[in-house]
Structure formats: structure tokens, C-alpha cells
Amino acid sequence: MSSINSICVIDDDKIYTYGISKIINNFLPGKQILSYENGRKALEDLKNMEDENQPLPDLILLDIDMPEMNGWEFLTEFQVLRNRTDKSIPVFVISSRVNQSNQDLYRLEWDNKVSDFIPKPVDIESLRNLLR
């Protein structure tokens, strides 16, 4: 997907955010990377963007275990916003909770709301594929 211009990373681990941003930049130089510590902060900003008619991000990389509002809670609230907008915004969940045995279960449960579940630590190739 070369049409990606802005990517949203929601994760409370700052070192991880730093690293993943660098990796994304290596694949897609010059693109905007928005990072948030938790779901609440991300939602606040997204709502602002919506209100001020600013373009929403093209992709969201979402962690699960975060303080204040975790990934599941974010997803649930994000659906509301998503339904209001025409834009299709794929969400990828990247979490150390995900592993081979539960991947399919998660996919089934969140079906059309989450595009895929990716285990941490992230495999660079998977990330590259995701970004295309």
C-alpha cells in the first residue's frame, strides 16, 4: 500500500515505539508517524482530527496492554468513530499476547474489526509486508 502517508502507533513502551518508528521509516521514508502512550490519548487526538476535518491516519498499529485504556477498550470505542467515517482504516494488533495457538481465535473474534494479529517481538518481514 504505497498510499500510506500517516501511520498511528499506539503503545506504552517508549523504547518499542522508538524502534518501530525507525523500522517504518526505513521502509517508508518521510511518512508521518503518530505515537500515543495509550488508547485514550489516541482517541482524543483522532476525535480532534475528525472535528477539524484533518485527514485520519491510513494505518493503526495497536498494542493491547496499556494503562488507562487498553487495546480492546480502544478498539471498541474506535468502532464508533470508524462507522462515522468513509475512510477505511486498517488496524493491526501487535502484542506479546499473540502467539501461534491463539492467533486464529483472535482473528475469528475480531474478524472485520482487526485486519490481523501480529506477535511481538515483531518479525521484520511481516512488518514490511504489512506496510505494502
Binding site: 524502534g19 518501530i20 506479546s96 517481538p121 521484520i124
Partner: protein
Amino acid sequence: MKDSVLFHQLMESLNELIYFKDTKSRFVSISKSMAERFGLDSREEAIGKTDFDFFEEHHAKEAYDDEQKILESGKPIRNKLQKEYLKNPNRIAWSTVSKFPLHNEAGELVGTYGISIDITKEKEISEKLEQSYEDFRKFSEQVPGFFYMFKLDADNNASFPFASEGIKEVFELEPEDVEQSAQPVIDLIHEDDLARVFNSIKMAVLNQETWRYDYRVNLPTKGLRWLRGRATPELQEDGSTLGYGYITDITYEKNMYLNNVQLRRQFQAIFNSVPNLIFVKDIDGKYVMANQSAAKYFGVSPDKILGMKDTDMGFSEEKAQTFNEADKYVIQTNEPLFIPEDKSVTQDGEEVWHQTIKVPFDKTGTDKPAVLSIVTDITRRKNKESELNNSLNIIGEQNKRLMNFAHIVSHNLRNHAGNIQMLLSLYEVEESEEEKEELMTHLSTASKRLNETIADLNEIIDQQYSSSDHLREINLKDVVNKIKEILTSEILENQVSFVEKIPDDLSLEYNASYLESILLNLLSNAIKYRHPDRKPKIHISAYQDQENVYLEVTDNGLGIDLKKFRNKLFGMYNTFHNNDNSKGIGLFITKNQVESMGGSIDVQSEPGVGTTFKIQLT
């Protein structure tokens, strides 16, 4: 008077049969009685006739021979018992006959004469008696036991003038052995019973009433036997007593009886000593049988319980109904019914549990169907179950915590390790020195975080295994002072002040390292989360009541929004301040330590004002 006149009268009147014969055994003269016997009209008709005319040949021959013998020997035959075979009509008679040689006036042997006394009747009687006796003997052989005639004479000599064959069976003696003296029997009587046997006989004789007695004998072959004697005494004119009686061996019955008695006693002992309630109720709900434990449980005396109903014993109508229905069910199905547990409340309000088995029971001696119930008190077992369940719950809780803990730890380890890996791979492809330096810094942080996680992990594991060891009596004030010493630099740096309300003598039995750790955590948190606008002031108070020791630590720091974070407060790796120092594992450990010592911890807080931790230590 002339002899011939006298003689003539004799011959005419005597019943005895008299005859005179010549040497050829021809009748010369016979008595009238004899003529009648022969069926003759007159005495003279017999003259010249012989026995052959009146008796069967073989008999007449024998008589003839006898007479010839007399003629030869000159010796009489006296009192010979003779069976006579008469003719006209043919019949048999018995006589006692005496025959003599007959001499004339000159002393010459001229024939024989004889006198015969008819004893046919006597003989018949005697034969009948013989037959009777024979029958009796045969009969007595069939009858077990021995019957007898017993004689006790005026000098107290005892004997058995008559003893049946049964004496062999009963006493291993012969009738002859006791005919003259009862001593052989007396010798056999068991020494412990001897006196009483004599007494009982004496009483019976004295009172002329039937003698009945059971006593033991020691027989040569059969050993110890029980006998039952019975006799009816009759006082005789000469002062002696005759007793007609019967003795039988009752060893078998006696043993059965004694066995029975013993069995009954054993049964009673078991029945009444077991703690289980054992009782039988009939289909109408009436008690037919109950053991002591049951009677005791119902609060009724054992002899009153029969015929009572459950309602008579204080059970409610409903409860009694339930019992009766269960019994009816058992009677209907004719199958046992097992009630694994049933709760009730005693009069004292205590909870008790029972286990019951009911079976159909038909040995009641009434025709009503009945049910036997055996009830066991399982209260102790239930209590143990309850304790066990509690333990299991606690273990379940601990397991949950452990799972949670394992989950959290693996998550964190993976994150930190993953970061290191990510940064290293970026470092490898990075060309810019500046970027490389930045990567290194982050790498170093990630590595530090990994180490911290591992250290936390160790701390938690250590804590899991050490709670109940190392208990000792600790003075609370001493511990507080010790912790304050450890935190001296932080206290001075931040100008922390303390208000303490701790009794000097307040001591408790506790794990020392836990107590220090708890206090250290609470105090360092209070200092760490101090309010930026004011100097930290920490209140520490401790007090105790009858059972427990309480500790309170209050600060004037940042406070916590409990509405949001109450649940997460004591969890692992949860932070709610945007403060990089806040890892949040401290309270998790504190809670575990407090709880493992059997206490509890609670918190009250107002954001911007401060926080109070309340701990029940014991």
C-alpha cells in the same frame, strides 16, 4: 366218719383235678371237676379211658411217659407246669400237675394218681403281662430318655427297682447296675449340682409334689451332659417313697439356649454400644425398636421409645412426614435407600450432618411392614470437607495469582527482550554515528528494564516461599525506626516529617523481613509520591484490640484516583502516574506479604490531598 365218705366229698367238690390211673394209665377214678373238664356227664364215664381219649396224642404220650417213669422209679413228679392240648373241643389249658405212685393196701404199686391245678387264667394273665412288658420294652427303646421307678426307703437308701433301657443312653449304665442302689447314678452327677439335686428331691418328697430339675452329669464316654429329670413321688405305707419318672438328655437344647443367651448378650452389647443410631419403624411411623444411641439422640429413655412416633419426639409434622415417606418408599420398592447426607439443627442450635441407610425389615414380630434405619453422624467429616474446600479455594486463588503473575512476567520479559533484539537489528544496518549512539542509549535502557523485570521476578518468587518461617516477636516501634534509618537520605533530601502514634510496648509475632519490607514500601511510596507543593508529612499509627494488630500510614502526597484505579492498585506493573519511576510492583508484593501472614490491606485516598494505607497485620 369213714375216709371213703370224706374222700367222696372231696372228689365231688374240689376244683382241683384229681385222678387215679392203673399201671396202663387207664382212669380208675376222676374228680367231678375233671369229668366236667372232659365234658363227661358223670365221673364213671371216664373209667377205663386214657389221656388219649381226651388230649392230643403228643400230650397224652408225654403224660403216659411221665407215669411210666413214676411206676419205674417210684418217685413222684411235683408241680410240673403243663401245657395241655385238650380235645372236644380243641383247646389249650395250663396246669400245675403233681403225680404220685399209687399203692394198694398191701403196698403193691398198682398205678399212679395225680392232682392238677388249672392255671390257664393265671397263665393267660401272665402271658398278657409278658406281652405287655415286651411291648413296653420295645416302646421304651424307641423313646429317647430313660424312665424308671425310683425308691427312697425310710433309711434314705435310694435305688431304681425299675429302669428302662434308656438308662444306657442317658447314663451309660445297665438297668441291673441300679436295681439295688442308685449310687452309680449319683456318682455321675456333677459335683456343683449334687447338693441342689438332693435338695430338690427332698423338697419334692416332703411336699409330695412333682420333682423337676435340670442338672449336669459327667459321663465316662460322652463327658459333660445336661439332663432334665421329672418324677412323681408316692409315699408308701412303710415310709418309703416311690417315684415314677423320666430323665432325658437336654444337652443340645441347653447348649442352644446358652448359645442364644450369649448371642443375645453380644447382640445387645453391640446394638447398644455403637454410636450409630439404629432403629426400626413400622409403616405407620411407630418405633418398634431403637438402640441406646438412638434413644439418647432423641432424648427419650429406651424403654419408653417403643410405640412412639417422630412427632412425639419433637420433630415437626413436615419432618416426620419426610421420614415416613422415605420409609414408605423403601417398603414399596423393597430396596435399600441410601441418603448420603442430610443436615439438621439440634436443640442447641448446632448444625449436624447425618448419613442414613434404610432397609426393609420384616423381623419385627408384628405383621406390619417395617424399615430398619442406620444413621451415622458425619458432622466431623463435613467440617473437614469444608476446611478442605476452603483450602482448595485458597489454593485456587493462589494458582490464579500465580498464573496471572506468570502471564505478566512472560509478557514483560518478551517485551524487553524483543526490544533489545529490534534495536540490535537496527544498529546493524544503521550507518549514521549519531543514530547509532541514540540506538545504544535505548539499548542500554531496554537492557536495564530487562534486568529489573528479572529482579522483580526473583523477589516475588523468594517471597512466595518464605512466609511462615522466621516468625518471631517483634517490637513495631523498633522496626519503624530501623526503616527510617534506611531512608535517612531520602528523608533529609525531601524534608520529610513524621507523626507517630505507636505504643512503645506494642509487639507481635511476625515475619521480620516482611514487616520491614512492608514498612519500607509504604514509607518510600509516601515519599516518592509526594505532593510538589508541600513538604511530605507522614502519619504512622499502630494499635491493637483483643485479636488483631493494626497499622496505618497516612501521607499528604499526590493521592490516587481510586475510582479509576482501585482494582489495579495492588496489581503488577500498573502505574497511574506519568512518572517513569513508578513501576508499581511494590504494592503487589506488599499485599502478598500481608495476606500470607493472614492479614489484610486497604487504602483510602483523595487525589491532591493524600493517601492512607490501613493494614490489619494479624
